[in-house]
Amino acid sequence: MDETIEDKNKGSENIEDDSDFNIDFTTSSAINRVSLKFLIVYIPIFWFSGIIVATFWYGYTEGKQPWIIKLLFLPIIFLAFTFLFIISCFFFSKLLLILINLIHLPKEGIFRTEKGDTDFEFWRLRTEIKKIVLWLIRNSPLPWIDVIAFRWFGVSMDFSSHLNDAWCDSEFIKFGSNVTIGQGAAIMSSMVVGNYLIIKRIIFEDFSLVGGQSTIAPGTHFGKDTVLGAVSVTTLNQKLEDGWIYSGIPARKLKLNQYAEMRRDIIQKVDVDEEEKTDIEHEVNIDEDKKHLIEGNKGGVKK
């Protein structure tokens, strides 16, 4: 077995040419260097939204209702306060984000990960601010509403698609309708490679599906009805064609997506049936001994 291990570590003998600079691998969009000065932003967000909750709590305790009614409504009040806290956190962080975006507009491209680079600094600041609200919503008893948070933060999507079970960057992503994203998938519109930060838009067309634990690199374009299998990875700027099932590292064509065709058939059939329903109203298939009931409804003579 030792021989094979040595073979693996040899690797390819690379000649120094431009192909070295091709980014044909995928890393991660986890934040590069946590800087404590950005975390100061959290304290006002927490404090102000906490004050709002505290005022409501004051009103609740000072109310003139008998104590038994107060006790009865306590659980629901607690639930309401959790969501009040989350929504106000959400509101304040959105305000901050608007202010930050006024100072520096987020844009796609390749930037340097140095302290002087404004794009890099603001990318870090944006992610830090967004993180807290998304964290709160995902830990709340109603995690599905994180779609609203993503929508506010710059991901265009609606409630037909969901990314509740995935790591997902919260900007430069466009969802069509009915997109499904599997558990543990990482969708990254930003990626740090060495000294460079890459930000590129990801587009999901309608009915595309991403398998569990797969990783999606920035710049990936999902066609309509495209399926990406579990444990697969796309490379930078990869285009996945319409109606194909992709799989592997990096993603390659596996076979045509027949299920998409089947689904289309079903939808067409339903349409036709409904049309027929309006045309042939009287030829309903009923037992002979129950036909008089329909006639009776029409105003016919009963037996």
Partner: protein, 308 residues
Amino acid sequence: VSVPNSMRVGPFCATVLAKKKYLLLYIILIWISLFPAILEVWWYWQLLWNDIRPLHFYVFLPLYFIVMYITTVFAAILFAKILLIIVNAFHKPREGVFLRDPADKDYRYWSLRNTIKKWPTWLAHKFPFPFLDNICFKMFGVKTKFSNSLFEGWVDTEYIEFGKNVVVGQGAIIQSSVIIGNFLIIKKTIIEENVRIGAHVIIMPGTHIGKNCILNTWSSTMVGQDLEEGWVYNGGPAKKFKKNRFFEDIPIEKLTKTVGDLDGLLKKYDEQYVIRHVKKKIPLKERRIHIRKEKNEEKPEEKTEKKD
């Protein structure tokens, strides 16, 4: 950005309970570490409520809540650390290969250490500020810097050394101890400066990663593997993919061009993933003989390497 709902378990040590009585210790730890917070509430109440100044009370309550949480975390870390020192005095933690059986002392104490560390790590990770679990890691014997972002992955809490600017990707697992079959392996993992670990990477105990390395997504290392500095690694077990020249000054036009030759790339990836099975095809009969031979020899370390 945020850890998904179905996987919000955080950086945990493996939750193996060698003996049920360790749970008692765990509960006691929770109990003790909540006392400072309760004391603080009482003190706050005394200070601001008695003078009939509810406005102050309510305005600073949210801020005080954060303080309370942080003190709870620090109390948990403190008491856990004291317990750990006591436990380590009885039996010093050491590296090596141990039997996975409650009769084995090392296995038992490893499990006990993890049980003690669990409550503070859980508590710290439940707080949305990412630096709190860095403090936790530092206190429990992981060498790390505050600038490292270990928030998104799973990281073991002992026998790990991080350099500067290490980034652990989403869902990556960094282990210093692993259970394979009937054995528990504890080995020191060292990760040096500027290493970027991609999403879903699995790093096994004993791995040494050199400076300026990049690990592609879904690559994994073997027990005791050594990764040279300045390379991009890919595949499981990780192999050299190409030289990491992304720390140089490159004109940005060169970076922007997309991969033209996708078939060539697929071939490059295929070589790294498939060859292992294609090259060495042992027929079933020979394989059985091979396994029998190994059983007779009984060398646990070799076995574990094979199973990766």
